[in-house]
Symmetry: C2
Subunit: 356 residues, 2 copies
């Protein structure tokens, strides 16, 4: 039997609140019967939803909070009003207290990041937290980071992302020695990407165990799956992610228009409906729902605010896989190893030991 995993949940997060969140937990439980849940939020609203899922209700602890963070609270606002007492804060705090293996919230990204930093603090050896996304590719799946937290990341921060992303790939994909590519643009003598050049130098110099530095990749390499991990600064990464989502929707629209354009194409689409169902599944954004916050002393997963129960369950699933593979300890060991490289070797070992 798989070892029990406890998930802390912000039951009030997202566009739909407890109705979707509780349904999502129930769905995750179907696939992972070893799960236990701590649901933070309005106890009455949560109980009402739980009545629909008696099996889930038996593995849930409810922690009541009066306060929830809204989708358009600014991070600083959210922190001021919600610190210590909001469902979002409390769900993160359960991870800090060691009561939960990870937490999931569909609440607003900025607030969740601000609270996570404040509550869990940065991991030693990491400057800035980042958000990693699981990106479907022709070859399977890749990890792309950062997709929005580290605007203007410098070379050292980019190189550290490589280490974080590789640990996540080893836990999730799982691959023994994931390849790590640095997102760059083709031009050779272009100025202004000093951070990317510096990151390349550092990754070569550090030569971290548990990953293989692949070199530069370009935007079209993400979909090809050229490297298992793609590292980029948060602004470009967020734009890449959203642009890919937009392109997928656009092509979906073209496809629907084309298939509805004549009787013959409608008949063809009907005959091929099994194939289209399969395609829809492959492109289903719910299947890559879940941004993973890396670089903190604890695991926080951000679900898309507008997702449904299936999407929320996928976000939980990411955490289950990462907890099962002891991601946090892997990352702490890897980062400890890297950040000790500047000191003497003993220092590096000490740093990594003190984390375990």
């Amino acid at each position: 039997m798989a070892k029990s995993v406890t998930v802390s949940i912000d039951a009030m997060g997202g566009d739909h609140g407890p109705s979707v969140v509780v349904a999502g937990c129930s769905r995750a439980l179907e696939f992972h019967p070893q799960l236990q849940f701590i649901l933070h939020g309005d106890a009455r609203a949560i109980k009402t939803e739980l009545e629909k899922y008696p099996k889930l209700a038996s593995v849930v602890t409810i922690e009541h909070t009066d306060l929830s963070i809204s989708m358009d609270d600014k991070p600083s606002q959210a922190l001021r009003k919600g610190r210590g007492k909001s469902s979002m804060w409390r769900s993160i705090d359960s991870v800090k207290q060691g009561k939960a293996d990870f937490c999931v919230s569909a609440g607003n990204t900025g607030a969740l990041m601000a609270m996570s930093k404040f509550c869990l603090r940065m991991m030693e050896g990491v400057d800035r937290p980042v958000i990693a996304a699981i990106w479907p590719s022709i070859r399977g799946e890749s990890i792309v980071l950062d997709v929005g937290a580290s605007v203007g990341a410098d070379g050292q921060q980019l190189a550290t992302m490589g280490v974080l992303g590789a640990a996540m790939a080893r836990a999730l994909l799982p691959i023994q020695q994931p390849s790590v590519g640095l997102l760059n643009i083709g031009e050779e003598e272009v100025k202004g990407q000093d951070n990317v050049q510096e990151a390349a130098r550092l990754l070569r110099e550090w030569n971290p165990t548990g990953m293989r530095y692949h070199g530069f990749v370009e935007g079209d390499d993400i979909g090809k799956g050229t490297s298992d991990v793609v590292v980029t600064e948060g602004f470009a990464g967020n734009i890449a992610l959203k642009t890919a989502e937009g392109t997928a929707k656009q092509i979906g629209q073209y496809l629907r228009d084309a298939m509805g354009s004549s009787l013959l194409s409608k008949l063809g689409a009907f005959l091929a409906s099994g194939a289209f169902r399969h395609l829809r599944q492959k492109l289903d954004p719910r299947r890559s729902n879940g941004g993973v916050f890396l670089g903190l002393n604890g695991l926080v997963i951000k679900s898309h605010g507008g997702t449904d129960a299936t999407g929320f369950a996928f976000a939980i699933e990411i955490g289950v896989d990462m907890a099962a593979n002891d991601l946090m300890r892997r990352i702490q060991a890897d980062v400890g190893h890297i950040s000790g490289l500047g000191d003497d070797d003993d220092g590096a070992e000490d740093a990594s030991d003190s984390k375990n």
Copy 2:
């Protein structure tokens, strides 16, 4: 009859050289009988190809050069060895000399940009040249700039791109008052995008005629066609463009796999083959081939190096539309207006008049 337009062509550029370039010119001539061509490159190789296209041959002037720039010459190398005497340089120089309305090269982007800057010089009031791409969207087509030349562009440079892109949209799409969006990421309090904030402030302050500032857009807005023009710094823009290309290929692959997965789906695909043909056309990257260099004293169009005759003809077509709509004069007037805003009004008018 449409007024005659002369195109200067780097016949040696691209992966395939004169064979594709000359065939592309012939194809462009079919649609635009008013075209005249100056072909720069190895006279013997060009003549051999021209024998296949007698109609084209009658509107071509050949300017022989011994030297051509290779696809992997670095920009500085290319400039050193090719300045004054390579087919690439000479094709740009024909624009400078007023012999041609615009030039097209499928040669290497970095070299073409370096030579274009050196030969044509920056337009007054513009700091850095940019590359604009035509991006298909659900609503039609948008202009996205910059897709690779202006890594690290500052606020002023981004705002100027808005003006350049709007002029191009008015000439090409054509729309009287194009909307201009600034590409940004969702987070409100994220640091590091000061350039985007500054650009927003400047566009509001300048309030340029001939465009409407739309506000911020995100990556998925490009495919939706939320704004007619999307402005971004070169690194993120190049990554967005390549990521969209990669995503389109990836989905195409999924679609082919799905349609080939069973007898029924194959039959369905056969019946819907007309619809699929239409879809393929919509997604054909050749139809958006052609990066337009803006901000220089002359019009240079970069064709994709690996394209075929149809793709090369599309790149020529962009130039034809822009020349027909007097793009360069529009841009000079718009930029003159903007860059004159710091001075008194008369100064602005003088600056714009002196360009005409």
